[in-house]
Every structure is written in structure tokens, then in C-alpha cells.
Symmetry: C2
């Protein structure tokens, strides 16, 4: 499993859209707080691998592209812990 503390440090850029507490202000962006960690990892990897396209996916693919698997595990651990 990921390291939530390391995930929190990495999550600064995510909070702009997903909210500082993982509750998105913008209705078309998902809440991440309390989401399943394993699902969050799968979703981030799908964005990173280009398996999610269209609309908002372009933004998220850009965000996910530079993330390592370790970053992804840590971010998933962090948001699922909220």
C-alpha cells in the first residue's frame, strides 16, 4: 500500500480541482475523499496510459503522465484516508 503522508505532499497540485480535503468544489470533478485506494490507483494509471480519453480526461492525463507508480500508490493512500 502507499504512504499517505508522502501522498499528501504530492497532492498539493491536485487540491486545486479536487479540494484541499478531497471534496471537489467544481461539480464535474470527482470527490476523492474516502474513495477506494485501489480504484484511485487504477483510475490514475488509466489516465497515465491514455485509456481514458475525451472531455476532462485530457486534463487528468497531463496530471498523471509524470507520476511514478509509487506516487500513484501514495496519492491513492492519501485521498482514500480522508
Amino acid at each position: 500500500a502507499g504512504d499517505a503522508a508522502a501522498g499528501k505532499a504530492k497532492a498539493a497540485v491536485c487540491t486545486a480541482c479536487h479540494g484541499v480535503n478531497g471534496k471537489a468544489m467544481i461539480p464535474s470533478y470527482p470527490h476523492l475523499a474516502g474513495q477506494q485506494a485501489q480504484y484511485l490507483e487504477l483510475a490514475l494509471k488509466a489516465y497515465k496510459n491514455g485509456e481514458r480519453t475525451g472531455g476532462q480526461a485530457a486534463i487528468m492525463s497531463g496530471m498523471a503522465k509524470p507520476l511514478s507508480d509509487e506516487d500513484i500508490a501514495n496519492l491513492a493512500a492519501y485521498f482514500s484516508s480522508l
Copy 2:
């Protein structure tokens, strides 16, 4: 906005994976309870339109394919209300 009561009726098949209260038992499946309605609509439409591929997306695309826009709005209203 969708009709949550109509969404609840439509959601019977969803509960097998996403849980009767929108909290998924299987770690790789997302919780839907309390998720943003507009995001849920966008996600369902992305599955329906084939904009999400790979891994689990195949299952969800099959689920989303037969849904009308009204079904999607109702399901989103229902799960976001939980």
C-alpha cells in the same frame, strides 16, 4: 437534474458491484455514494461512448451502453444522494 427515486429503481444491477448503499465491497470498484452527480454523469457517458478503455472499463461500457441520458441523470442523482 435527475430523479433519484427513478435512479434507485434503475440502480438494482449496479449494487452488485457498487454495493446496496453505493459503497463498493470490491477494492478495485469505486464508491459511488456521495459522489458529484455531474461527475457521475460524465463518467457514465464516457463509458457509454467508449472513451474509457482497458481493464474494468469493458465491464462498465457494457453496463452503460443501454442507458439513456435520462437513466444516466437519474442514476447520478440517486448515488450522489447517498
